[in-house]
């Protein structure tokens, strides 16, 4: 009987041995194992994402021809307006280049846009992240800014071979230097503690006392460009409240972020372009 009772504890003993072995493993082995886990699970994430894409594709196939014709007509209209915008942008770019040349301004660090599809969203009260379907293979570096049509999405926090984790600006661990549009004084922007289904919010601190913002008179908050990561002028959100902070020196307030942050499907990573003199890393 005693022998049989001990044998019943075998699963627990095995678990204990595994835990002990994990604890005793060298740090390097653990790091490799942890990284491998992400790489091994990445195909699952990617497969799920692609299945969703397929699902969307077949859902669209179910649409009638009339609907498709109408959508095509709308798309042509949007394309026409975009073509106009592209022409205007070209003129503005030329004007900016001319002014930079005239004022002898040093050109801003250039970025290459790497478009990526969102594979997974990971939202909680403590962090807000998305996983995108591009990674190290596409030369995406850690810390690279991620944008979409509504402004800043966030910053790349982890990079794996085929995926990358992007920390959203709505995450409380994300902090940026911003400026109120038309102003030059830096303001601290930080993501808020956002409930999962609530509209995303952030907070601003160190805001000069003369800046007034309210829901009736909102102020657009854009990246300051001082930090060297985000180019200046990208939209962060809209300051909808500004109250005197408890230190009496500054104001602090609330920033309404783009509600589309929670439903993103496509984003663009700003990959810094290496200077011409720097050696370009060969892609595998």
């Amino acid at each position: 009987m005693p022998f049989k009772r001990i044998s019943q504890a075998n699963p627990l003993l095995t678990l204990g041995l595994i835990v002990a072995a994990w604890l005793l493993l060298p740090t390097a082995v653990k790091t490799v194992a942890r990284a491998s886990f992400f790489e091994l699970t990445a195909p699952v994430t990617l497969a799920a994402s692609r299945v969703r894409d397929l699902q969307d594709f077949w859902a669209l196939r179910a649409r009638s021809r009339t609907e498709l014709i109408e959508a095509g007509r709308d798309l042509a209209r949007v394309n026409a307006s975009f073509e106009l915008a592209v022409q205007q942008n070209g003129e503005l770019r030329a004007e900016v280049a001319r002014l930079e040349e005239l004022l002898r301004l040093s050109p801003l660090r250039d970025h290459r846009l790497e478009h990526a599809r969102v594979a997974r969203r990971d939202f909680s009260g403590w962090w807000q992240r998305i996983v995108i379907r591009k990674g190290r293979d596409h030369e995406i570096p850690v810390g690279a800014p991620v944008v979409f049509s509504g402004g800043v999405v966030g910053r790349v926090s982890e990079v794996h071979a085929t995926t990358a984790v992007v920390e959203l600006i709505s995450s409380p661990t994300m902090r940026l230097a911003g400026v109120v549009e038309g102003d030059t004084r830096p303001i601290s922007f930080q993501g808020g503690v956002n409930p999962t289904l609530a509209p995303p919010r952030g907070v601003v601190e160190l805001m000069p006392l003369d800046i007034i913002a309210s829901p009736a008179v909102p102020k657009r908050l854009v990246t300051a460009g001082f930090g060297g990561v985000f180019p200046p002028g990208l939209t962060l959100g809209t300051i909808i409240r500004a109250d005197l902070a408890s230190d009496g020196l500054f104001k602090s307030g609330e920033v309404a972020l783009d509600p589309r942050l929670g439903t993103l499907t496509e984003v663009s990573v700003l990959v810094p372009v290496a200077p011409a003199s720097a050696p370009v890393r060969a892609t595998p």
Binding site: R175, S188, S246, D247, G248, L249
Partner: protein, 664 residues
Amino acid sequence: MAAPSSPTPSGQAPGLTIEQRRAHDPRVTFFHVLVALALVVLASGLAYQQLLKVDTHAEAERVQNQRRIVHPGPRGQILDREGRVLAGNRPRFSVRLLLDALRLEIRTEQIRIRRNYRQLDDAAAGDLPSAVQILQIARATVVQRYLDQVNALIGREEKVDARDLDRHFARELLLPYTLLDNLAPAEYARLLEGLPVNSPAQVHTASVRHHPHNSAAAHALGYVGTGDAGEIEDFPGGDLRTFKMKGTVGRDGIEKRLDDQLQGEAGGAIFRVDPAGNRIHPPLQQVLPRAGQDVRLALDLDLQLAAEARLAETEMAGAAVALDVRTGEVLVLASKPDYDLNTFSPRLSAATAADITARGAWFKRAIQGVYKPGSTFKVLTAVAGLRAGTLDPAAKISCDGSMRVGTRSFSCHDGAAHGEVDLVTAITKSCNVYFYRAGLEMGPEVIAREARRFHLDQPTGIELPDETRRMLIPDPAWKRRLTGEGWASGDTVQLAIGQGFVDVTPLQMACFAASIARDQVWTQPYLLHDPARPPQRHEGTGLNPAQRAALLQGMEQVTQRPHGTARIFQDPRVLAPLPGLRLAAKTGTAQKQDPKGMINFAWLIAFAPVDDPRIAVAVAIEGDTPGEETGGGRYATPVAHAIFKAWLEKRNRPPGLPVQFRNG
């Protein structure tokens, strides 16, 4: 239906559990009771904790999840009489390191350092540092690691001051350690983005005193030091972990005198924090700090800057004071050398403090410097003689350049014979012989009594701390009391020309000039501005119109060519003209025996316009070279001229136009 199984070797039927087999086994029953009891205990404990101790747990949860921050209220501003900021506040950004969060890191570093030493066989050689030394090395290494992070972000190459760090650990362990101070906006913006939100190194803001005009009115404004943030009335959360920011306290000047008024009321907030300690907005409770009251000084910034600029040009120590004749409000209170008040924020460095000490810049010459008034005192001697009836304005005496009193010969101020002089000429040319005789005729008690009537023997009571009480109006009784010696005739003639034992401050002489201008015996100076302040009314001087006319005529001629001792007022080659401004003045050159030799002190008292006095000025310049003729006419007059010029420009300026000052 299952076939009956064969008995096992132990004789028990297979397929039955122990409980089924021994349902009534007393040993199993015992365990049933035991487990039931344990469950009851657990259930009771749960009920006790959840129902009876709910308040305790809620309180513990509150203390764990909430943080309280107390900020000092912004200090009130100090403004000049026109509302321009003399001392304000500005935010100061710094990077601070939370030492609490480094304990594990420092411990790990200690172990690593000790292991490294042992591997190097230093222990065997007896070179192994002590435990305290290893701890200090570990602390410096860890802190430098964070400083390197900051350096990399903002492109600096700062190093940790190990001694300063040790001092901080020894004395202020609970407070964050400042890695870098006074960050530029672009630097703190980079750090906001570059430093992780949960890093022990964080950007911190504080309010510091800012003086837009650097050293302007430094001695009058004073400076602040680090103080307590203060308490917030009826603000809960005293038991919460509280971060209390440092406040300021006035240490000198008006900052010290009106500290209660300038001091703001502390504010604070209670935040809920996440497990990493990040604040969750909005705060649960908040009390906004209230700024201290602004203080409006009577000083006129334009006049003050003009006086200080011209004083600085002399490259000598000195002071200048200007008063509004009617109200006694102080328009200028300048003293050189002085110091840049911005060097006190956030704290005065030892090197700067040593430099201020070496230059003698702590000394507030306008209110603390006691000097022999020299010939400016002759105005008082004249008033005393006229009132006593021993001096007739029309009577003339002969000046042959010196006068023998007892066994000693006293010369005139420039050694020249002035010939026949009356009161007007004596004042114009500052004839010593005239006033020697006048002094001897009226006696020292009369002069001393008149000086006391003009309050020259006591502090003025200006709203500043540290005004000296060392001013002195001597008389025979005083000398006997102090030295046991009798009063000599030589003492009287010295007193009559503002030499000998008499000592006054520049502020007192400015009050004296304003009093003479108003034909009264006292002017109370006020450093605080009150737009509704009524004109001062005190006892009159007692001079009849003819006497007063003679006195004013003499003083006006002092500023005029060809004989006035301050005639450079009218010399366009030296000083810019002051069109339409009639000035009355008296220069003075006092001597003082210094270890280096005989030093001259230049004086000038003046007021204007003569027919409707509005502004009175006193200037004193300390000579710095023995034997050098540091005369009032040459050195003090340009400073007074700068003040009058600025005043005149402001008076003639159309409203709303800024005044431009030119040096020269």
